[in-house]
Symmetry: C2
Subunit: 459 residues, 2 copies
């Protein structure tokens, strides 16, 4: 992460004088933009409305529909010239009730040790509780080694975050494999349910939900995440004793539900047929307020529009501000947006997403060609006063990914400080109180500055 | 802040290959050191003991004495070869009771609007409440312009943090002048008390205490800080109406109290007579647990010792780990440490302090000669994987400042992310729950790495 930064800064250093001499107006404008956002930003108040006024907003839920109406209203309030809703059908998963699990037997002796759990998103529940002996494994390698012992068991995966990993996003990538695929990997050998150590390094005993999927040809067994302290307990006990766990989840899919991307458009003065997209996703999981994930991205998007409008900016390219539907368990909104752009033969030169939380900014990650990266890196002197010091060579966002795949659009993902994100990500604690106003606004400052530079100088 | 970083990275870039080729062992050792701290660090558990087990520990209080005993024990537990207490006399200010203020009259009409306030540290209370009309001013310039109206009034200073300021430490520096000197500046013109807008950008209505001092020749009037929302109210009302406020504080000085620096020493193998000092301060204000300020610095100090010991490190220079007494309202510990070092003619080559909180690391600020800065900047490739990207040309710490003034010691201050520090600094919310384990440990990683490099290569 820091290596690319180092190179970027070196390149940037040699172009600083050149750029500064060439464009003092940019420096002045970006300074005004940062002050407009930090002094008069509405992002924090809007986030309070979205999280406290509406709350969790899983695709298909009544709250998601309320969020669309709210987003449409805010897009107008922020100053979009044209606002519309882009319809798409979304999967409609419903948790169906309280997820429960407890250790009911240890070495044959009855007990009741309640565990704090959440069913994984998209997982299917059962009519009656599932009760079975636990086979605890450290990882997939141990599962494979013990595949003959799996039949009829509940498999527990203890694969957690490695605190020694310097970038927690890597820990998430590695341990996320168990959430996404752990159920079918165990069902293949006859497991009747799975439990995973929840994906976090937090010390709080919070389980985290999040998307999973089944292999269609295998039994669709229930799947839960266990809070970290309970996970410690299960792991320790299961290495010394035989545990029987009873788990009961109620997840089900209802018929696909109508949903919408909320789109605000601002027509460019020089290249009205070339589009820049900025977005976050409006949906969240059901167990929290979706404050960092991705209320922050939603209000970043609105704030950038508001602030540029407030300064009387006239974009050269057309800019679209998009609140995407259904990132968490289907990506139908992002797919729809790109498909329609392709069908209409639109030219999308750049898309930026904020979907890693509202923490203090570190920079951006890009999916860009080498010559574009080189150009972007010359902008670092403009961005660094606001906190950006990382310009990574990989990055983007789930919702804007289809734009790159279908249209070859250059992508960027906003990269905030990652160290606390996974404390709250998909957990009950992803609430408004855990977002800091100043950090949230600083994110919008850095994103707005990047958008300005792309709009002014292209890629 | 970022400009010096940019230069540092450029310099660093050109020396990376050279250094890496020369010292792969350093890279390996620093990686091991980071993993030792992140995986096995005790800093967070020690911070829990200090904050929850002892709590606020103002100089002179019984809790401070308990903290010294705790610190001595932990210093041994962390592995110091020799541990001793260095005695010093400390001022003993006592809050004396609950600080109170309310608006009791608006335009002559009786009312009761309670304000959330804290007396400023070192301020003196009054036997009876002080009740007077409020003269609200934006800043010292307005005070001077209205000096003829001050007599008999309570002066309210509305000078707050500017959210448009990119570095909140600058906001603190500017607005801190009102906390430190506002009382005597107003007393000079006959004010009977002062109130300040509390020093924070936080949205919570928390007042923040912190040190002030009087000009001895002027009346010593009471002084309080008002929570941000109450401050907004006072400011708005006072611009349209005449307000009378009643305030009652109880601060007093008791006789100077015995205190101690806790010192752990590790004798160097090559230069036992040359000292490197690492420290934080053991005292805190009375209204909170002193978790970020400066429990974090205390446990950083202990953790660096523990981790280096755990890896079997043998320092070339002698390293002192110091928990300083009385930073908040006297600096008697820091002064004592430097005075004794001078009296003994000790050679102190470097001192590092952590006193800006336990947030995610950004880097370090230095008080160093240009050739030393140049050398330090070549170390950036070693530090950047752990989060350091700023090596500023100013910095140090209050407790180690006297070492520089008396002995010319090179100083460094650990610089964590500053954006949330002033939400909690000197306020009731500076508690254990507001410190994140991973961020705290990452601070220790960066500090330990810097200490290793100074010890290996000198300055």
């Amino acid at each position: 992460m820091k290596k690319s930064c180092c190179l970027a800064l070196c390149l940037a250093f040699f172009t600083t004088s050149f750029l500064s001499a060439q464009s003092p107006n940019d420096t002045v404008f970006l300074r005004r933009l940062s002050q407009e956002i930090l002094r008069h930003g509405k992002a924090y108040d809007w986030l309070r409305e979205l999280t406290k006024g509406i709350g969790g907003r899983l695709a298909g839920s009544a709250n998601f529909t309320r969020a669309v109406a709210w987003g449409e209203e805010k897009m107008k309030e922020a100053g979009a010239e044209k606002v519309w809703l882009q319809a798409c059908l979304m999967p409609h998963w419903d948790r169906g009730g309280k997820d429960q699990a407890s250790i009911v037997r240890v070495d044959g002796k009855k007990t009741t040790i309640e565990l704090d759990v959440l069913a994984l998103g998209n997982s299917l529940g059962t009519e009656k509780p599932v009760q079975a002996e636990v086979l605890a494994v450290a990882d997939y390698a141990e599962l494979e080694a013990k595949k003959d012992q799996v039949k009829g068991k509940i498999v527990y995966y203890n694969y957690g975050f490695d605190p020694g990993q310097l970038d927690p996003r890597k820990s998430y990538g590695l341990s996320g494999a168990y959430r996404r695929s752990g159920a079918s990997r165990a069902a293949k050998y006859g497991a009747v349910g799975i439990m995973i150590r929840t994906l976090t390094e937090s010390v709080a005993n919070n389980p985290h939900t999040g998307g999973m999927s089944y292999v269609d040809s295998l039994p669709k067994i229930p799947a839960i995440a266990i809070g970290p302290r309970d996970a410690d307990q299960v792991w320790e006990m299961s290495r010394n004793s035989s545990l029987v766990v009873k788990m009961h989840t109620h997840g089900k899919f209802l018929p696909d539900a109508p949903g919408h991307n909320v789109i605000g458009e601002w027509v460019g003065t020089e290249h009205p047929d070339q589009f820049i997209t900025i977005g976050g996703h409006l949906d969240s999981w059901d167990v929290n307020e979706g404050a960092h994930d991705d209320g922050a991205g939603v209000v970043h998007t609105l704030e950038i529009l508001r602030a540029l409008k407030a300064l009387g900016y006239k974009p050269k390219h057309s800019i679209r501000f998009v609140l995407f539907a259904n990132e968490e368990n289907g990506l139908r909104g992002g797919n729809k947006y790109a498909e329609e752009a392709k069908a209409k033969n639109e030219k999308h030169i750049f898309a930026l997403e904020s979907d890693e939380g509202g923490f203090a900014p570190q920079g951006f990650g890009f999916t860009a060609k080498p010559d574009q990266m080189a150009k972007i890196q010359t902008w670092l002197p403009y961005l660094s006063p606001f906190g950006t010091d990382v310009l990574e060579k990989t990055g983007g966002g789930a919702d804007i990914g289809p734009l790159n795949r279908l249209l070859g659009t250059t992508l960027a993902g906003f990269v905030p400080d990652p160290h606390k994100y996974f404390d709250h990500h998909h957990a009950r604690s992803d609430v408004f109180e855990n977002v800091n106003k100043r950090e949230l606004l600083l994110g919008a400052v850095n994103m707005a500055a990047l958008i300005y530079l792309v709009d002014q100088y292209g890629l």
